[in-house]
């Protein structure tokens, strides 16, 4: 394992200390319990958004804290959901009296820890709602299982719900728009290489020199199946076919196309894949009216990518276009 770290136990805390010093204008980092909060929190009278999850997915979530997106983020250990006291402290710190929305990726650990935090917050008279993101079509959904994972669609939920909160929507309204995004967003990923959690020191799975792993999650979990390395067009077709089959699109539908790098993929390959996805969608008559390309929700140094489609309407487009000012996503007013 080769990493630019000192002690595996201190990776998250040292990185948080770095983030805090690099971006004092945008965020504040509080410790014990650890969380990242908007520099201007709490914003009186506005709904606050709290998300969080394991570390190792940077810039998610701390990189999306700021005006127009998250109010706070609770980072767990690498690939491990945060604890309830982190989420509770973050929730208390951002509550501006209009309620708090928890944005939770659908993993047992995240769900349970946020659930506990929400109960504790309710006990302190903070109104908390939760939305569970489960956009990963690689996982078969069923009420008998843990259900689908929450992956890259989370970024879109955070951005759009964040814009609704920023303009002063009520907790009900912000929750409703977040739920709408969850209903309309689908993702699927592929890994070319595994990643290595600092503590474990060993790669998360094995892949031959000519193999790729389809349907990976964001925690270095192995995916649906190993297949031979394929040209970009074929990989993109596999991912997008699964996505479009799951939430069928009609010709003329407008979508946001999000090509996300898993951390170790060069940006040049992401744009190449994006170009390939545009060809696929245009053949299907699906119109891409908004785009996002880059490393936004990663799995440490994993090479690979995920593709996300969000069906847009006027409301979602407007909220997507709204100004945002975070470390990883900025758009002018």
């Amino acid at each position: 394992m080769k990493k630019i770290i000192n002690d595996p136990d201190e990776v998250v805390s040292e990185a948080l200390a770095g983030m805090a010093q690099a971006h004092p204008d945008l965020i504040t980092v509080r410790t014990k319990p650890d969380y990242v909060v908007r520099a201007d929190a709490p914003v009186e009278g506005k709904v606050a958004l709290v998300s969080g999850g394991g570390s190792g997915h940077e810039p998610l979530h701390g990189g999306f804290v700021g005006r127009g997106m998250l109010s706070a983020a609770a980072p767990g250990a690498v690939f491990t959901s945060p604890t309830p006291d982190q989420v509770l402290a973050a929730t208390q710190a951002v509550d501006g009296g209009a309620g708090v929305l928890h944005i939770v990726k659908n993993y047992t650990g995240d769900v349970l820890n946020f659930e506990t935090a929400a109960e504790l917050a309710a006990a302190e008279d903070i109104e908390v709602r939760s939305v569970i993101v489960d956009d990963d079509v690689a996982v078969k959904d069923s009420t008998f299982t843990a259900g689908r994972r929450g992956v890259a669609g989370t970024v879109l939920v955070e951005k759009i719900a964040g814009a609704a909160a920023e303009r002063g929507d009520s907790l009900d309204e912000v929750t409703a728009v977040a739920e709408k995004v969850v209903r309309q967003v689908r993702s699927m990923g592929v890994a070319l290489t595994p990643c290595t959690v600092p503590h474990s020191g060993e790669p998360s799975f094995e892949l031959g020199d000519d193999e790729i792993e389809l349907g990976i999650g964001i925690h270095g979990e192995p995916g649906r199946e190993k297949v031979k390395l394929q040209p970009a067009d074929a990989i993109v077709e596999t991912l997008l076919t699964a996505i479009v089959d799951d939430l069928p699109y009609a010709e003329g539908d407008q979508v946001l196309l999000f090509v996300n790098g898993m951390g170790g993929t060069p940006v040049i390959e992401l744009y190449l894949a994006y170009n390939s996805a545009r060809k696929f969608l245009s053949d299907k008559g699906i119109e891409v009216s908004r785009s996002l390309v880059g490393n936004y929700i990663t799995s440490l140094e994993m090479q690979g990518m995920s593709i996300t489609l969000l069906r847009l309407d006027e409301q979602l487009t407007e909220l997507w276009d709204a100004p945002v000012s975070t470390i990883a996503l900025r758009r002018d007013a």
Partner: protein
Amino acid sequence: MASCDAAATAAAVRQMAETIEQHHTELTHLDREIGDGDHGANLVRGFRAVVEKLDADEPGTPGAVLKLVATTLISTVGGASGPLFGTAFLRAATKVGDAETLDAAMVSDALSAAAEGVVARGKAAVGDKTMIDAFEPAVQAAQSAAEEGSVADVLEAAAAAAEQAASETAPLEARKGRASYLGERSVGHVDPGAQSTAYLLRSLATSASSAG
């Protein structure tokens, strides 16, 4: 050991921490196969924090010891196993209440309450390939043993049943937790949480029998 006081409970908890130190690499390895490779690290972090708190100020009743374990695990472990084991200890603590010592029946009841807590939080059933697969048979075995036996007998029965059951999770297809994402590919690997449950129960049994 006919009954178990606060000191014995604390000693048993330290024994659990010890066991986790010994086996965390293996647990992480199991979790890498069908999860995200952090189960050992998660439990080490939690139990180290527990031992620190016990060292600082050891509570005066078995229930208080269990509650300390519960809140510490909840606030330090994260992941799925943090709230689940945390809930288990919390329910056990509530069950034993303010009792100064625990007898075999109380220990068995505490184990039942713990398992119920895990089911209530995680909604897993036996056969879903989770810690419940080790927990439930352990509770059954403990209840039978409690009818006649000592605290040590109860815990020995629970540990043995859990060990057996943990190994039997290998052929199952996971339906809860991260391993469920793998579907059929989860077959052939022991569930890390079932294995850690077996280790934890084994340390309780060891601690109880050495306490005589």
